[in-house]
Subunit: 297 residues, 4 copies
């Protein structure tokens, strides 16, 4: 079924056969201007999680944060001194807030627009690297708050969100939106502690939501999980939303966002739309980037 | 003289004795809202440099970009495959676009607001870490285009920018602005190739510009160099702008930005103000972060 | 009690007040020559574990092994091509075979010979770094095979080895020996899978064995665990063998060795002594090094 | 000519078509035992260079040495404290003492024994990884001291060593030897400072020495340079010794050794043979390892 879904929502060639930007093409100056006009309160809300440097059951490959120089010279020293640090991270996975470039996933040996997987070599991606977002990703963000819709604090790992639910929240997604789906993951983690997200799963979109994305014509999709509900039923298509969105539709994904603060900010104002800014690092040949997206309400 | 300048512009306690945010306090919701209203064209301009992974005379500690998985499995393989990468960087220095937290520099063993240097230990900063900017830095950006003012393509390494020049460009800096100073560094690099910025220097602000920052009451200062003109005359105060801004005034700095694209974008529209967004990674105890700031004109 | 044990076995000043080498001073040319004469079969046995790059319950901070260039260029390319890799590791902990320098542990703010802990700054150790072993550690190795003594395949986590047992194995430790204690850890891991060594513990020496080390006058101590039995009864002295050996006696430690192959090699020949070679990387200011020690039987 | 030399010295299949160990097969127990018997003085000599963490003109990709915990906690703290570090290095290149696995270099898309370059993927080498040396490399080492032969302190960058010179030093290489060629590189660096070894070159073996290696039937080749004289005359075969040794003959290489201390130790005793031990880290799929080889004279 996943393969059928993939074919049904695939739109290679829509922006040209050589296109590497995919649905980012929807973020026209007109849409950016209209999104900026959404700012009403001037409050900025962080949508990234703290960089996960501590080993934990949900963080098997901790990010590195090393001080290369601290303040441990003689304190009486006169004049100038400095401190500095190194940060390193294999950002894909289920822990770190990051953006997936269209070169991150392959279906049957192909990435978005049919480019071969072998275009991603050990020195980076020749096609559809994250460099297409060097100028940032700016647009209208909408928060689909599923726990609020269901009247719960959070969804459980493995809970699948349906297309109907995506249509029933307090805000309607429109063409060119940056769609953010809240599952309450960070609330659950705070209340119950971390869990092994690979073994026990994450709440997320049911596979058929790929069609919803196609119909809505979203520019970007993000979630506090990894968008896909996990575990998957189909081993050959373990993350069908990733596969349909990144490969078939050219929709960049934002994984492991922190959306509880944004959910609170939206609920407090009764308004689930905002200016949304993602600023990936300019990683040549990168298949993504760690990010800390900012919503401005 | 540097020490006198430091004392003259120091304003510890202005936002409370325990304050770690410094001039970010100037970025009030009102200012953020007004900055968002500056967006007129809906064009986004990247102000970060490509992450410098290649060894070069101006990049003695290259950033790491490693593919932990590429597309080099059998291309005929069915179904799902992925690629991913690791990125690592000691971001301080003269190469990488980054933000300096207020804990990055010490004067006589103290950082901003008098916190001791020993509060920055080998496991991170206990005071004034970059976490104060977790929600992003958003405000009115202004570009002071010094090469344009002087009628040249770029300034030479060691060229000092004066207070008068800061007042004479096409835009007036106001209280709470994110002030960006263009020196033409990237144009020069493209035309003449890289140079050893530690030995040969960088164009930047003369030390006395610290007083201008104080009078203007800027929220943030950034440059395509490191704000300070280098080499410095005073070995004990090798980077007086850093020392006065970070330590004395609590002004965060943006180093090694790429501003040629923004200079072009501003000149083309005859307008040097814009919405400016910086989204540091949420690095616990970090003394800064690599960033890719975005201007929205 | 641990503090008393520490005082009873401390021997600061034995090789001079400024000495940083500790018991490595016992590895005289005479002892090295005699150790070389132990080689009888010409068989080399690895005593390091494979570098633990995979996340596992007993490997919370996996080592990094990244290919910076693989063989994924066009296979038809003529002439020269290369592949290469990056390896990175925070080697202390319970996973990676490594040597502890005398600067790795402090008791009441002091390391071996009374040097202050503050001599280990964010840029490395000024005293007793692993550089003292730049020329390698070569001597007579002896394997104390505790599972063999007890007639079991392995010891259980938390099992404490007694002084009597150290004296009862097939070989007698002598002054200046490199003493290796086998607990069967890798056999247990292979049979039962990995376990959380921090929570569940490791077999190792009871604290009072510190006195045995003192009496035997060992040059180096190593184990397939971390020498100390864990968990510890005394929270203030969580690893008393480390504290007494490294800090009090100046005995370098080898942690997380792989000793099952050596146990087999010794048992097959009825001989538990051999030439033993450790070759730490020359890490300036390092508090240790990952190592792959080699026994030559 | 290089291609002819390659064909003339190639010996694929000598130890079986599936062999990944190459000339390490020459290091039989008998040879190891005889090598151990060479130890006469019990003096150990380091043959690795200090890990090059400082940026320098001859070190474009510095190794990382980060303290993840230093001694900068309160010095008065009672009981146990620790310090630890992270070390990371892309060890191939012209700076770091390392061993090249047979999977490090390809000729016309093939590595040793005809295995395809594509067997080295982004997750490591499936054939001829450094794991073949997990048990260490132990044998008779011989030092060919070329500066001594020529009566100079060091060879100049680009100086080519001839086959005749290899035969004229104080020691005769024999079958199964670990052959070390001293060029005086570290002496020159100490006297004149570092130079750009990529642009200016290194002293090393003339290409035709590949035939000498073949005739002598060496087990391993090492040098204080990279064995090959550089710059190369043949751009398609930029490092013919690497290509013939690693790919054609299956001879592992030791690059960037430090041999001045060993040269002094040998000259002082009038004896240029010794027990030589290399202990690579057990890097699964690695194309080499940083090493600190030890000579025991």
């Amino acid at each position: 079924m996943s393969a059928e879904l993939f074919e049904a929502t695939k739109r290679w060639g829509r922006w040209g056969e050589d296109d590497d930007r995919g649905a980012l093409n929807l973020l026209t100056p007109e849409r950016v201007s209209k999104a900026a006009a959404l700012v009403r309160y001037g409050v900025t809300v962080p949508c990234g999680r703290p960089l996960a440097t501590a080993p934990a059951v949900d963080n098997p490959n901790p990010a590195l944060h090393h001080m290369i120089q601290a303040g441990d010279f003689a304190a009486s020293q006169k004049g100038f001194q400095w401190a500095g640090d190194f940060v390193g991270v294999a950002f894909h996975g289920n822990s770190v807030s990051h953006i997936d470039a269209l070169s991150h996933v392959f279906v049957d040996g192909q990435m978005y627009n049919g480019a071969p997987a072998t275009d991603v070599t050990s020195v980076g991606a020749r096609r559809s690297s994250i460099e297409v977002a060097d100028a940032g990703i700016v647009g209208r963000g909408v928060l689909l708050d599923i726990p609020r819709l269901r009247g719960v604090d959070w969804l459980e790992p493995g809970d699948a969100i349906t297309t109907d639910e995506l249509d029933a929240t307090d805000v309607n997604a429109e063409q060119g939106d940056i769609v953010l789906v809240h599952t309450g993951r960070d609330r659950r983690r705070e209340a119950l502690g971390p869990w092994n997200t690979y073994a026990e799963g994450l709440a997320g979109l049911a596979p058929e939501c790929a069609r919803w994305l196609y119909d809505k014509d979203a520019a970007v999709l993000g979630s506090d999980g990894v968008s896909d509900v996990m575990p998957a039923a189909d081993m050959e298509w373990p993350i069908p939303i990733h596969m349909c969105a990144l490969v078939g539709m050219g929709i960049h994904l934002l994984d492991n966002l922190r959306l509880d603060l944004l959910a609170d900010a939206c609920a407090a104002r009764g308004r689930w739309e905002f200016l949304f800014v993602v600023a990936p690092l300019q990683i040549g040949g990168g298949t993504g980037s760690p990010v800390n997206p900012i919503a401005i309400v």
